[in-house]
């Protein structure tokens, strides 16, 4: 079973890339590979992909006002808790939809709905979204089962 932070404090997976719309798919694919191997499967795997897609989309839309600042995603596991973080170094804010004509997003509600817990940390140096999923059926999800 793939499990979590190593002895040196490095997360199971850390991904850094520019906050561009086309990169959200790179994150989604990478996260799918990681969490599948870490025991997520079925609907939960789909929920995790959906949540991380929403979190990254929020960074692209809200953090840098269209610029391509950095976006950092980590995936880690401690016991049954699988934790994903999506962090940026911008000023995360809601788009004024009346000004832009955009439809208001449902990202936060979706993340809240599918994650077992979630937190949003806004700091002067950026924003971090933390999503926690309790892995179901850990005993049945041997290493590699979620890979295909």
């Amino acid at each position: 079973m793939a499990n979590t932070t190593d002895k040196t404090g490095v997360a199971a997976v850390t991904l850094e890339l520019a906050a561009r719309a086309q990169n959200v798919m790179l994150v989604r694919q990478s996260v799918e590979g990681a969490v599948g191997r870490m025991g997520a499967a079925g609907q939960q795997l789909e929920d995790i992909k959906l949540a991380v897609t929403e979190a990254c989309s929020n960074v692209v839309k809200h953090a840098y006002e269209g610029a391509a600042g950095p976006m950092t995603i980590t995936v880690d596991r401690a016991g049954n808790a699988l934790t994903l973080t999506v962090a940026d170094a911008g000023e995360w804010r809601e788009v004024e939809t009346a000004e832009t004509g955009e439809q208001p997003g449902m990202g936060l509600q979706i993340m809240e709905s599918v994650a077992d817990s979630h937190e949003i940390h806004r700091t002067p140096v950026g924003t971090e979204v933390v999503l926690v999923f309790e892995i179901e059926g850990v005993g049945a999800a041997a290493a590699g089962d979620g890979d295909e």
């Binding site: 793939a2 499990n3 979590t4 932070t5 190593d6 002895k7 040196t8 490095v10 997360a11 199971a12 997976v13 850390t14 991904l15 850094e16 890339l17 520019a18 906050a19 561009r20 086309q22 990169n23 798919m25 790179l26 989604r28 694919q29 990478s30 799918e32 590979g33 990681a34 599948g36 191997r37 870490m38 391509a68 600042g69 950095p70 976006m71 950092t72 962090a87 170094a89 140096v125 950026g126 290493a143 590699g144 890979d147």
Partner: protein
């Protein structure tokens, strides 16, 4: 990678703390990158063959505390995967471990170029696919 750095458009940096995740993460990341770079399907297949060979070799040759740091540069028609922060000589050992008895040097057969470089006290292995 603990500090947030300026992003570079077109470059993905990946640090893997669990060696069993190299294959599933790289496979999907490189697949998506190949699509983003609009590589033709035969090059996509080559990219996946390269990742399979590299991931297998990495899992066999890296020790538990070795850094597993990768960068992936994406541009139209080309992707470049680099295994970074390797110990001196480790890039050559990693490349050697990708060679299969029946197929020979898989990476050099499927990649546009494969290079090992010395960087400060270490080394890096770069695989270009175009």
């Amino acid at each position: 990678m603990s500090e947030r750095r300026e992003s570079t458009d077109g470059v993905v940096r990946l640090l893997i703390g669990d060696p069993s995740l190299i294959a599933p993460v790289l496979e999907r990341l490189v697949s998506a990158a190949a699509v983003q770079a609009a590589l033709p399907v035969d090059r996509l297949v080559n990219a996946l063959a390269a990742v399979d060979a590299l991931a297998s070799a990495a899992e066999r040759t890296f020790s538990a505390n070795d850094p597993r740091e990768f960068s992936l540069a994406i541009e139209p028609g080309r992707i470049e995967l680099c295994v970074e922060s390797l110990a001196d000589g480790q890039a050559e050992r990693l490349l050697a471990a990708t060679r299969l008895p029946e197929l020979g040097d898989v990476l050099e057969r499927v990649a546009e170029s494969v290079t090992t470089t010395s960087v400060d006290d270490g080394s890096a292995l770069t695989i270009a696919l175009a």
